[in-house]
Amino acid sequence: MELRPGQKLHSAVCDAQVVVVRAPSADVALACGGAPLLADGEEGDGTATLDASLGDGPLLGKRYVDDEAGLELLCTRPGKGALTVDGRALVVKGAKPLPASD
């Protein structure tokens, strides 16, 4: 799937929703719980099942990255299925908290 920043995607197997923050230049296979993520407005055929062995699902407000693909997602709804790109698990972007400047 070709991704662009600001694109909304949702899981076929759980409640998870994400937005693309940084998009890879090449096509990638982006999945949640083992099933391909769906574009906004796209519905699954109902046959996909959640593969729980892939790990925990995304948490609301956390950013998930894969440095190899140059991908960053923001979780806008939490879910049960783990996020993967080309079979690799996405990792939470750990950021040192900044002092509140506003």
Binding site: P5, G6, T76, R77, A100, S101, D102
Partner: protein, 491 residues
């Protein structure tokens, strides 16, 4: 990414907590989102939503209603005359104007106007819709303060503001008891950033309709305020109020300041009066979606403990935020080594640099010239000398007014001062100091010059010294140097 999506996340995660409050009026994040959709219906087919008013619930509802309608939100200075407001509104086309107070004059000029209280009441009936994700649209048009030129509208797209928030604020990172007091004006980028950052952090946003030091202190105590952001002129008045009233502010944990250069004397006094608060200096511009560098609480504490390096850095804007790059360049655009002053250029996802109806001043690689002068130290601390336009060039030597002002403010008899260049046939410019003496103090020019000469070279000692009762500042603490300069010139 769209700003409405950020609100939608807060509504999903912490939707039942109070998100925004003005007086006794409160909205949860879920209610604010519903109000945004109802507000979008009121906008109808207009191409922009303008807001003319003080801080209140109409500001957050208006911002997100505009996002829901897919049109820009345009907060305007409510102190402008009807004539000035009309001039700023005219190029926007068909605009719905949400206005506090008497809006008859604007309506008479053909603008579609709704009273702020009616807008809020109608929006509170609530609505719903599909939250957009796209970040390309114009989120906010903000008129820059125009201290050196006519005002122009900076265009901040959703993706600029969302990048700033997502990159710098931890979602729902605030504790349940945290509350921020917002007293900066709604037509300033700080008012916008205050709302977005604190909402995303899950911190209750409490509005003060407009700044007044006694009301600010009272609100901090009444509302259990933990966080606040103020401009330097506000900070000085808060210090006066705290000293006069003898109040402490036990709930205030974090106080950030910015918007203009803060005199060292003001900061030192504030740190003495609020020993338990964590201080943060924020530097940014309208065109960069607010903050691009911060000097954090650890740096302030180290300075308070007497560390000489940290003390020198109290005069800096701190380090650049993640996601933002800074270069100091010479007039030909070549990068300068650390320690050497030049023009500050910035680049990053939050940097817009776009003005309505004009070509963007970004260079081919996306760098934006801030028109601020400054330099970086060995550890990446950014020192701001002031606006490039304000630099005094005397006999070929570049002189930053701030350096001389900081020295003069150490004089016990000087309350405020402004240093500007005045045209001179021999030197190009000569240095003039305009001084506000403290009440009851009598000063003469020779004494001010002697005091300056003790810390500065002769070439930096003001050649002209005049005395005034007050200096002209904008509401956000920026000195109107061109007014000071004009007053010095023979009419």
């Amino acid at each position: 990414m769209n700003l409405l999506l950020l609100l939608d996340m807060v509504a999903a995660g912490r939707g039942d907590e109070v998100a925004v409050q003005a007086g006794e009026d409160r909205l949860t994040a879920a209610e604010l989102l519903a109000a945004a959709w109802a507000g979008a219906d009121l906008i109808g087919g207009a191409s922009a939503l303008a807001y003319v008013g003080t801080n209140g619930l109409a500001f957050p509802i208006g911002l997100f209603a505009a996002a829901a309608a897919g049109v820009p939100f345009v907060p305007l200075n409510y102190r402008l005359s009807d004539e000035q407001l009309h001039d700023l509104l005219a190029p926007l086309g068909d605009t719905l104007v949400v206005a506090e107070g008497d809006a008859a004059a604007l309506a008479a000029r053909g603008h579609r106007v709704i009273a702020a209280e009616d807008f809020v009441a109608a929006a509170r009936t609530g609505g719903a819709g599909d939250v957009p994700a796209d970040g390309e649209g114009e989120a906010v048009l903000l008129y820059t303060s125009g201290t050196t030129a006519a005002p122009k509208a900076a265009v901040l797209r959703h993706r600029h503001l969302a990048a700033y928030v997502v990159e710098t604020v931890e979602f729902a990172g605030a504790g349940p008891d945290e509350a921020v007091l917002v007293s900066v004006p709604p037509y300033h980028v700080a008012g916008l950033a205050n709302l977005l950052s604190n909402l995303y952090a899950g911190r209750r946003v409490v509005y003060l309709s407009q700044f007044d030091a006694d009301a600010w202190v009272a609100a901090v105590r009444r509302e259990g305020i933990t966080n606040a952001m103020v401009v330097p002129t506000m900070l000085a008045r808060i210090c006066d109020a705290l000293e006069a009233g003898g109040d402490d502010l036990p709930t205030l944990r974090a106080l950030s300041y910015g918007g203009a250069r803060t005199p060292a004397t003001v900061l030192e006094r504030a740190m003495r009066l609020l020993p338990d608060a964590a201080f943060t200096n924020a530097y940014g511009l309208t065109e960069t979606s607010s903050t691009i560098a911060v000097l954090g609480p650890d740096d302030h504490r180290a300075a308070r403990d007497g560390d000489p390096v940290a003390t020198a850095r109290l005069g800096s804007a701190g380090r650049v935020l993640p996601g933002v790059e800074v270069e100091v360049r010479d007039p030909l655009g070549a990068p300068l080594p650390e320690g050497e002053p030049g023009e500050i250029w910035v680049r990053g996802e939050q940097v817009s640099g776009e003005y309505a109806g004009r070509d963007a001043p970004l260079d081919a690689s996306g760098w934006f010239p801030t028109r601020d002068r400054g330099w970086l130290d060995a550890d990446g601390y950014l020192f701001i000398e002031g606006r490039s336009d304000d630099t005094i060039i005397r006999g070929g030597e570049n002189i930053a007014p701030a350096e001389i002002e900081e020295v003069l403010l150490r004089h016990p008899g000087i309350a405020q001062c402004a240093v500007v260049g005045v045209p001179d046939d021999e030197w190009g410019q000569r240095i003039a100091a305009v001084v506000v003496p403290r009440p009851g103090v009598s000063l003469d020019a020779a004494e001010v010059q002697d005091f300056a000469r003790r810390s500065l070279r002769g070439s930096k000692t003001p050649e002209i010294v005049s005395f005034v009762d007050a200096l002209p500042f904008t509401e956000t603490g920026k000195l109107l140097r061109r007014v000071v300069q004009a007053d010095l010139l023979p009419s």
